[in-house]
Each structure stands twice: as C-alpha cells, then as structure tokens.
C-alpha cells in the first residue's frame, strides 16, 4: 500500500469508527477491534489519547493485539520523541520504519517458526 492508500483506509476507518460507536447494540462498547473479511483481517488498537493503529493481515493471524501494542511503543519512542516530527502529519521517521520492520520480522519468526 502506498501513502495515498494508507490515508484512504485511515480516513475511511476514522468515519466508520465514529459511526460504529453510535450504532453499537451492546452498552459500554467503545470501538471496533477487529474486522474479519474473506481475504484479510483488520485489527485496530486505539490508545487512550485517541490515536488509532491498525494492521491488515491474513485471515486468522494470531497475536495481532500484541503486535499493535509493540507498534504503539515504537511510535512513542521513535516518532513522538523526534522533535522534528509534526503531530498528525504522515510519519517519515527512518528509525521508526527500521524498528517496525524488525519487530514484524521477529513476530513472523515467532509465529511461523522460521
């Protein structure tokens, strides 16, 4: 996915999230956490500050919540702590990208055993 696609998914998701909060049939339900489709799963994590992280993966992939938590920590370490990163702009922090790729690779090895 290129930047425009990511922005499209993110803005679509932001609206869906708002609508789903109003529509929820059970009380005390705050947000969508998982969207299961035929060809992919979409996991979402929302921090208490309202920042949302989502990951698109193969259907049935496990431990995505843990991965999202790791991504949240990487975000706070490499993006927010970067004084030149402007909030709400697309993230172009090299350290974040490198560490993110490493985290996903590690995860893959742990999950698939290779």
């Amino acid at each position: 996915m290129d930047t425009n696609d990511s922005l499209r998914v993110a803005s679509l998701w932001h609206s869906m999230h708002a609508i789903s909060q109003q529509l929820s049939p059970t009380t005390g339900c705050s947000e969508i956490e998982l969207l299961e489709a035929d060809t992919f799963d979409l996991h979402i994590f929302q921090s208490l500050t309202g920042t949302k992280f989502f990951v698109v993966c193969e259907p049935g992939t496990q431990h995505m919540e843990a991965l999202l938590k790791v991504v949240y920590e990487l975000y706070t370490d490499y993006v927010l702590n970067n004084p030149f990163y402007e909030t709400k702009m697309p993230i172009r922090c090299e350290l974040f990208d490198i560490n993110l790729t490493q985290a996903i690779q590690k995860d893959r090895v742990a999950l698939l055993g290779r």
């Binding site: 921090s47 208490l48 500050t49 938590k69 975000y75 370490d77 702590n81």
Partner: protein, 186 residues
C-alpha cells in the same frame, strides 16, 4: 490473550534507559538561563516554560500510556494517583504524593518529595517571581489535555522561594470527550 497488567512506576523506571542526573539538571538550568537572557521578563519566562512543558506533555502522555499499560482511569482521583505514583516515578525517578482533595474531587495537590530539576539551584533576588520548575506544570496540563481533561496547574509551594516542599495544585476544569463533527439533524 489476557491484557497485560499495569506496570508500577519503579518497574518502568528500572527498565528505561537513564541519563546522568547532573547532565539533566545542568541542561534544564541552561534552558532557564537562556530564556531569562532572551525574554528578560520573569513572567514571560514562566509562560514560556509552561508552553514548553505543554508541548512535551502532549507527546509524553502516549509514552506513559504505552509503557505503563494502564487502563482508563475511573475518576480524577485515580488520574491524580497515576500521575504522582507512576508518572513522576517513571520520568523523573521521584515519588510524589497526592493530598488536599476538595469536596467534589476535582482539585488536589501533588507534593514532590524530591526534585532533580533544582539540584544546586538558588534563585537570585532579580528572579524572585520565577517559577523555576514551571515546565512541570505545562507537562501535566498538556498530558491531561490529550486524555480529554482540561486542567489548570499552578504552584502552591516552591522550595526555591522559601517554602518547605514542592506542591502543585491540579484542578480539573472540565472533561472534553472527543467530538466527531457529525450533526444528527443534517
């Protein structure tokens, strides 16, 4: 998978990378001195320190939430305890305590036992109106604003001004839940 339990301030403080305390104190001192030289007015410096603290706070809150695994606080009392016990411990390595709650539970004092920012500092006569640690009030205000609370944070007692402790008053002005710009009647 069960959610991870919230971590204590001590545990997080032990696990993060730390910097030499003197370097931290000297760097902060250099910032304040430079602001005094540039802005000249003590009130302006107070405002600038608060603004700097605010800019730090809005980013620091996510790091706090990510590392400490806390869930949403039930009320403002819990929020204040979190700031004092986990927040101050995690970022400054100091223990703080919460006291002097008012009747509605919207205003309290956070008392710092120790303050690494002010090691070796004495305020000269020309700077008597200066709130040397005003960056801390900005940090708390900024951090709480990002979790939907508008607060007012002021210094009640400041050891550099002759008092016996560092006491911050945190007052909750209002809760501002995230609003979506969708109107029902359109």
């Amino acid at each position: 998978m069960p959610p991870a339990a919230p971590r204590s301030g001590d545990a997080i403080f032990a696990s993060v990378e730390r910097v030499n305390a003197e370097l931290f104190t000297l760097t902060y001192g250099a910032i304040v001195r430079q602001l005094l030289t540039d802005l000249e007015e003590v009130e302006e410096v107070n405002k600038q320190l608060d603004q700097m603290g605010y800019n730090i706070g809005i980013r620091l809150i996510d790091e706090f939430l990510a590392k400490s695994n806390v869930s949403r606080c039930v009320d403002f009392k819990e929020t204040a305890e979190m700031i004092a016990k986990v927040g101050f411990k995690m970022f400054l390595g100091v223990t703080a305590s919460v006291m002097n709650w008012d009747a509605d539970g919207t205003c309290c004092s956070i008392v710092l036992e120790d303050n690494p920012l002010v090691d070796f500092v004495e305020l000269p006569d020309t700077c008597q109106g200066l709130y040397y640690c005003n960056i801390l009030s900005g940090v708390i205000r900024g951090a709480l604003e990002m979790v939907a609370m508008k607060t007012e944070v002021t210094w009640i007692r400041d050891m550099l001004r002759g008092d016996d402790a560092y006491e911050l008053q945190v007052k909750l002005l209002k809760q501002v839940p995230e609003e979506y710009p969708y109107k029902d009647d359109e």
